[in-house]
């Protein structure tokens, strides 16, 4: 009986400790791979395909109720700027600012430059 109790206590502890160990704050999707590729092999994946890939990452994260990391929406927004899709670009940049107010100065600067286009 005491050994059963001990086992129960150990399991209870594991239940408390383990979830705390493995959780991440964000859902990263293909964000890092996209950055790496944009430096090392630019042009191998079309801008449309890159944007579509990040949009899928976002869909998946929303389904899992996870947040996208800092910079994700800005990166996607910048892809839309390059594609000339300015409405989508603005939407993504506003999302970055709403998620992370630390980006406000940066995002406003990019939004202002879009008005000149």
């Amino acid at each position: 009986m005491p050994s059963l109790l001990r086992t129960a206590i150990i399991w209870a502890w594991l239940g408390i400790l383990l979830p705390g160990c493995s959780t991440t704050l964000y859902s990263w999707g293909h964000y890092e791979e996209r950055i790496y590729a944009s430096y090392v092999s630019p042009g191998t994946t079309s801008l449309e395909a890159q944007a579509a890939e990040l949009e899928r990452d976002y869909e998946k994260a929303r389904a899992e109720r996870k947040r996208m990391p800092p910079g994700f929406h800005a990166q996607l927004g910048y892809l839309y700027v390059q594609l000339g899709k300015l409405d989508q670009a603005r939407r993504e940049l506003e999302a970055e600012k709403a998620e992370f107010p630390e980006s406000a100065v940066f995002v406003d600067r990019v939004l202002a430059s879009l008005k000149k286009l």
Partner: protein, 195 residues
């Protein structure tokens, strides 16, 4: 003899405790005074022989910093904007509204092939500086090595790829080691609890 065993064990345990205590914690006085929320990562200085080291590293640095609780400016976008507008790094932090700037120097970043094994080494140093005052908040030098046996089909591919894969885990420790890494940032549940 048997009576001495506990004494010996206690002595060993004490010695271990003392040794562990030898890794002197970083002095976080400046860090605590400024408590940055956002970090602008400068393109790393590459002192290694690996051509793509800076790009490779730059794509692995966001995750550990963000998971540590900081807002990290999107490295690829910022690099493009800085190139297009011709803005200097220090001016960039001001224009983007960054609280802190991270400077990283890659000392070694690649794989050395030896007779029977391959040693992949990532050796780096970094400084986190307060963007407004220029005060040094944190600095650290760090090295991590991964050995693989060529006979067992270890790393035979690109040396950059091996270093790239190692850089991810290097960063987790570089920024995350207790008493030596960065304090938790505002998006981390333990922000402010790591005195």
């Amino acid at each position: 003899m048997n009576a001495r065993a506990p004494v010996a064990l206690t002595a060993c345990a004490l010695a271990l405790l003392l040794l562990a205590g030898c890794a002197k914690p970083y002095d976080y006085t400046n860090f605590r005074q400024h408590r940055p929320r956002s970090i602008l990562v400068m393109p790393p200085q590459n002192e290694s022989q690996t051509v793509n080291a800076a790009w490779s590293y730059q794509s692995t640095v966001t995750r550990p910093l963000a998971e540590r609780g900081y807002y990290v400016f999107p490295v690829a976008v910022v690099d493009r904007l800085m190139k297009e507008d011709g803005v200097s790094p220090n001016k960039a932090a001001e224009i983007l509204g960054a609280d802190a700037i991270l400077y990283v120097t890659l000392e070694q970043y690649g794989t050395k092939q030896q007779v029977l094994n391959a040693a992949t080494l990532v050796k780096l140093r970094g400084q986190l500086v307060d963007a407004r005052s220029g005060v040094l908040l944190w600095e650290r030098r760090f090295a991590i090595q991964h050995n693989s046996n060529l006979g067992s089909g270890g790393i035979l591919g690109d040396s950059t790829d091996a270093a790239h894969n190692l850089a991810g885990s290097a960063n987790v420790r570089f920024f995350g080691d207790r008493d030596l890494g960065l304090l938790y940032g505002p998006y981390h549940p333990r922000y402010g609890k790591d005195e």
